[in-house]
C-alpha cells in the first residue's frame, strides 16, 4: 500500500517534472522561434514603420496572439503612436489604429511607458488603467504590455492582446520580456543607422555643394570621389568619376605647369606632406584659368596613405591682380629711383658745376699764364693740378650717377668689394653733406670684404638710407651720419646711423610699409624703405631698424654669398 502511495507520489512528482520540462521546452521553442524571426529582420534596410510592422507580425504569429502592436514615443516624449501592428482580425482598418495615439500616462500603454514597468492583465476589464482603442470593433481581454527600454530611457511599448481572458501563460510572459529587450535593441540600431546615414548625407551634400572642386584619388591615381564643382570643372559626369584616371584631368593642365603639378601630387602621395600648387587649367570655354590646389593625403584605417585629396580654388583674378601689382611695383621702383635722383639732381648739378667752373677757369688761367715771360711754372702746375683734380671729381660723380640710374633688377649678381659700393655712393653725397655741415663718417671697411650682390641695387638702397639720414639731420643741432661695415659670420652687416631725432616708437613698425613717409608733402614718396627692404630681401638679406639704438640706425645684413639654388616658392613644402 505504502509502495503504491509512494509510487503514486513518485508518479505525480515525475508528472510534475515532466510538465515543467515540457513548459520549459515549450518556452524555449517559442523563444527560439521568436528570436529567430526577429533576428531575421534587417533594421538597416527598412524604415522604422516597416520594421515595427514586421516585428508585430512576428510576435503575433509566434505567440498566436490576436493583436500585437508596437507604440513609440515621439521625439518630445509626449505621445505614443502605433508604428507597427498585426491583427488576426483583418477587417480592422489599420489607418484607424495607426492614427490612435496615447499621451504619456494615458491608458495601460501610456502607464507602462511612463513607469517602465510591464503590465500583464488576464482581463483588462478588471484593470483600472485600461482604455480601449477608439473604433476598436473587437474588445480585447488579455493584454501583455512591455516597455521598450534602451539605456534607461523608454522608446515605447509592445502590446500583445487576445480576445479571451487569461489567454497568456507564464511562458508567453517570459518570452515577451525577452522579446521587448530585443525589439528595443533593433529599434535603437535602426535609429542610429538612420541618424548616421542622415549625417553622411549631410556631409556629402556639404562637400557636393562646395563651389570649389574637391576630389579624392586612390593609390592607383584613380578618382574615388569628385564633387559637383569638380565634375563641372573637369567635364567628367558624375557616373564616370569613380574609377576615372587622373590622366583625364592632367590633359587639361597647361603644358608648362604639368611637371610642377605632377611633382606636387607625387610628393604628397609619397611623403604625406601638404602642398599648395598653382597651375593653369583650360576651362570649358578653352580659356586658361589659374587654379590653386591644396593637396593633402587621406589615410587608411591602418594609418597608411590611401591616396590624396585636393581642393581647387580659382585664383585667376588674384593672379591677374598680382601681375598688375608686380608691374606697378616695378614702375614705382623706377619712379622712386628717379625721385631719389631728382632729389639729388640739384645736388649733383651743384657738384658738377663747381668743378666745371674750376676747370674752365683753370684753362683760361693756363692760357694767360703761358703768355707771361718768364713762365711761372709753379702757377701753371697748380692750375693744371686743379684741372686734373676736378676732372676726376666729376668722373666719380658721373660714375655714381650711372650706378644709381641703372635698372639694377636685371643686373647679374657679382662679387663687389663692400668698400667700393659704399664709397661710390658716399662720394655722391659727401659734398652735399659737407655743404650742409653734416659730418659723414665712414668707418674702416676691410679692403678684402666682398659680397655677392647686384651693386646697382645695393647702391640704391644705400643712397636711400643716406638721403633719409640727410633729411633727418638737416635741421638737427648736431649733424652726423655714420656708416659702419663689418663681417659677421657669413654676412656683411652695414649700419647707417644718424644724429637725427630717431624714429618714434609708434612709427617703427610702419617705416617699411609702402607709402609711409614722415617727410613733408612732396619730399618723399614713402616708397624708399619698402623698396629697399624688398631689394635686400631679394638678396636673401635683411633690412631692419635697430630698436635699441638711441639714434636712428638702419641695419642691412647681406650674405656674402648668395644661395646657389635660387628657386622661389615652396612656401608650403617641408
Amino acid at each position: 500500500m505504502r509502495r503504491k502511495d509512494e509510487s503514486a507520489a513518485e508518479t505525480s512528482t515525475y508528472a510534475e517534472a515532466l510538465r515543467e520540462l515540457t513548459a520549459r521546452h515549450e518556452q524555449l521553442v517559442i523563444e527560439l522561434s521568436l528570436l529567430k524571426r526577429l533576428d531575421a529582420l534587417d533594421p538597416l534596410r527598412t524604415d522604422v514603420q516597416a520594421l515595427c510592422g514586421e516585428m508585430a507580425r512576428a510576435i503575433a504569429s509566434v505567440l498566436r496572439a490576436d493583436n500585437c502592436s508596437i507604440m513609440l514615443l515621439d521625439a518630445q516624449g509626449q505621445y505614443m503612436q502605433i508604428l507597427g501592428a498585426a491583427s488576426s482580425f483583418e477587417e480592422q482598418s489599420p489607418e484607424n489604429r495607426f492614427s490612435a495615439r496615447f499621451s504619456l500616462g494615458e491608458g495601460i500603454a501610456g502607464h507602462v511607458a511612463q513607469t517602465g514597468a510591464a503590465v500583464m492583465a488576464d482581463d483588462v476589464q478588471d484593470h483600472p488603467e485600461f482604455k480601449p482603442l477608439p473604433n476598436s470593433p473587437t474588445p480585447i481581454r488579455s493584454l501583455l504590455c512591455f516597455p521598450l527600454l534602451a539605456h534607461g530611457s523608454t522608446l515605447g511599448v509592445v502590446n500583445v492582446s487576445a480576445v479571451t481572458p487569461g489567454y497568456f501563460t507564464d511562458v508567453t510572459k517570459q518570452v515577451m520580456e525577452l522579446s521587448a529587450e530585443r525589439i528595443a535593441r533593433l529599434l535603437l540600431m535602426q535609429h542610429y543607422h538612420q541618424r548616421l546615414s542622415q549625417s553622411e548625407q549631410q556631409f556629402r551634400q556639404f562637400v557636393d555643394n562646395s563651389p570649389e572642386p574637391i576630389a579624392r584619388v586612390d593609390k592607383e591615381w584613380r578618382y574615388v570621389y569628385g564633387n559637383r564643382a569638380f565634375q563641372a570643372a573637369v567635364g567628367i559626369p558624375e557616373a564616370e568619376v569613380r574609377g576615372a584616371s587622373v590622366e583625364r584631368v592632367k590633359a587639361l593642365i597647361h603644358p608648362d605647369d604639368l611637371t610642377f603639378f605632377w611633382e606636387c601630387c607625387e610628393t604628397v602621395m609619397k611623403t604625406g606632406s601638404i602642398r599648395l600648387c598653382d597651375v593653369r587649367y583650360r576651362n570649358a570655354e578653352g580659356a586658361w584659368r589659374w587654379i590653386s590646389h591644396l593637396a593633402y593625403p587621406w589615410r587608411l584605417p591602418d594609418g597608411t596613405i590611401g591616396g590624396i585629396e585636393a581642393i581647387g580654388r580659382d585664383i585667376t583674378e588674384q593672379k591677374n591682380a598680382e601681375a598688375i601689382i608686380a608691374e606697378q611695383r616695378l614702375k614705382l621702383e623706377a619712379s622712386a629711383r628717379l625721385t631719389a635722383l631728382g632729389g639729388l639732381a640739384s645736388g649733383v648739378a651743384h657738384e658738377i658745376n663747381n668743378p666745371l667752373a674750376i676747370i674752365s677757369l683753370g684753362a683760361e688761367q693756363l692760357d694767360l699764364l703761358v703768355q707771361q715771360t718768364p713762365l711761372n711754372i709753379n702757377h701753371i702746375h697748380s692750375a693744371a693740378g686743379k684741372i686734373r683734380r676736378n676732372v676726376s671729381r666729376i668722373e666719380r660723380i658721373i660714375r655714381g650717377l650711372r650706378t644709381l640710374s641703372q635698372d639694377g633688377s636685371k643686373e647679374p649678381f657679382q662679387c663687389k668689394k663692400v668698400v667700393d659700393v659704399v664709397q661710390e655712393v658716399a662720394e655722391l653725397c659727401q659734398t652735399r653733406f659737407q655743404s650742409h655741415n653734416i659730418d659723414m663718417q665712414i668707418g674702416e671697411i676691410p679692403n678684402s670684404l666682398e659680397m655677392e650682390c647686384r651693386p646697382v641695387l645695393i647702391a640704391q638702397v644705400l643712397m636711400n638710407l643716406f638721403i633719409n639720414a640727410f633729411d633727418a639731420v638737416e635741421n638737427a643741432p648736431d649733424r652726423w651720419i655714420k656708416v659702419e661695415c663689418r663681417e659677421h659670420k657669413e654676412c656683411v652687416v652695414i649700419r647707417v646711423m644718424d644724429s637725427g631725432p630717431g624714429v618714434p616708437d609708434e612709427l617703427r613698425e610702419h617705416v617699411f610699409n609702402p607709402f609711409f613717409t614722415s617727410k613733408e608733402v612732396g619730399k618723399g614718396t614713402g616708397m624708399g624703405l619698402s623698396i629697399s627692404k624688398a631689394i635686400i630681401e631679394n638678396h636673401h638679406g635683411e633690412l631692419s631698424l635697430e630698436a635699441e639704438s638711441p639714434n636712428t640706425c638702419f641695419v642691412m645684413t647681406l650674405p656674402k654669398r648668395q644661395p646657389r639654388s635660387g628657386m622661389h616658392g615652396d612656401k608650403y613644402g617641408k
Binding site: N353, N354, G362, Q365
Partner: protein, 248 residues
C-alpha cells in the same frame, strides 16, 4: 684804373680751388682781394673792410650766399655790388635781382665774361648808361600807362636800381635779347622813359590770358631819362636791382 686807389673785392666760396683762382685773377688785375669760405667769415670781413665788390657762391655751409646778400643789402643797397655765383638754379635770376643782387652768374663761367661784367657793373650809373649799344637793338617795346604809381600797383611796370620789369603781350621776348624800350606815362615822375636794355628774365603768364613779364637790365638811357631816373633814385632807394613785379 691804374691811377685810382685799388678796388676792394671779397670772394666767398667754399670751394678752395675756385676761391684761390679768383683771388689770383683779381689780384693780378690790381684789386685788393679778400676771400672767405662761408657767409659768416664774409660778414666779419665786411664789418671791417669797405668792400666794393662781393662775389659770393650761393650754397655754402653756415651762412649761405642769399643770407649774406640780404645782410649786405639791408646795410646798404648800393655798396658793395653783389655778384651771386650759383652752381645750380637754387635761385632764379628774377629772385636774385629782386633781392638786390646786381649780377647772377652761373657756374661754370668764363673769366673774360666775369671781367667784362665787373668792369661794367662797377661803373657808376651815370657812366654806365651813357653809351648807346652798338649795334642798336632792332626790336622795341612801347608801353603806355596812366601813371607810374598805378602801373606799380597793378604790377605791370616797376623800376629797380638797375632796370625795369614790365608786363607785355603779343610778341615774345627771350632771355639775353637786347631791346629798345619806350614807356609813356600820362603823369608821374617820368613823362617818358627811353632807353635800351638786355632781357635778364622772362616769366610767362600762369594762365593763357595772363600777361607775360620780363626783367630788363638797362644798358643805355636817354639823357633826359637818365637824369629823371637818377633823381628819382636819390629819393627812392630801391633794394631790388630789377624788381620781380609781383602783385602787391
Amino acid at each position: 684804373m691804374e691811377n685810382e686807389s685799388p678796388v676792394t673785392a671779397l670772394i666767398v666760396d667754399d670751394e678752395p680751388d675756385l676761391c684761390e683762382m679768383l683771388v689770383f685773377e683779381f689780384s693780378a688785375r690790381g684789386y685788393r682781394v679778400f676771400s672767405a669760405s662761408d657767409g659768416q667769415e664774409a660778414e666779419r670781413i665786411l664789418d671791417h673792410e669797405d668792400v666794393a665788390l662781393l662775389l659770393t657762391d650761393v650754397r655754402m655751409p653756415l651762412c649761405d650766399g642769399l643770407e649774406l646778400l640780404s645782410w649786405v643789402k639791408t646795410r646798404n643797397v648800393y655798396r658793395p655790388t653783389v655778384i651771386l655765383i650759383s652752381a645750380y638754379a637754387d635761385i632764379t635770376v628774377e629772385e636774385a635781382h629782386d633781392l638786390g643782387a646786381e649780377v647772377v652768374l652761373t657756374k661754370p663761367f668764363r673769366l673774360s665774361e666775369l671781367a667784362d661784367i665787373v668792369t661794367r657793373i662797377l661803373l657808376p650809373p651815370e657812366r654806365r648808361w651813357c653809351t648807346p649799344p652798338v649795334p642798336a637793338p632792332v626790336r622795341a617795346c612801347a608801353l603806355h600807362f596812366s601813371s607810374f604809381e598805378s602801373a606799380r600797383k597793378e604790377a605791370v611796370f616797376d623800376l629797380g636800381r638797375g632796370g625795369a620789369a614790365f608786363a607785355f603781350s603779343g610778341s615774345t621776348l627771350s632771355k639775353g635779347e637786347n631791346i629798345r624800350i619806350e614807356v609813356c606815362f600820362d603823369e608821374g615822375p617820368f613823362p617818358s622813359l627811353h632807353g635800351t636794355g638786355i632781357v635778364n628774365w622772362v616769366r610767362s603768364g600762369a594762365e593763357p590770358k595772363q600777361l607775360q613779364k620780363a626783367g630788363l637790365e638797362f644798358t643805355w638811357l636817354s639823357e633826359e631819362t637818365r637824369t629823371a631816373f637818377l633823381l628819382w633814385h636819390s629819393t627812392h632807394a630801391q633794394k631790388p636791382y630789377i624788381p620781380s613785379l609781383k602783385p602787391q
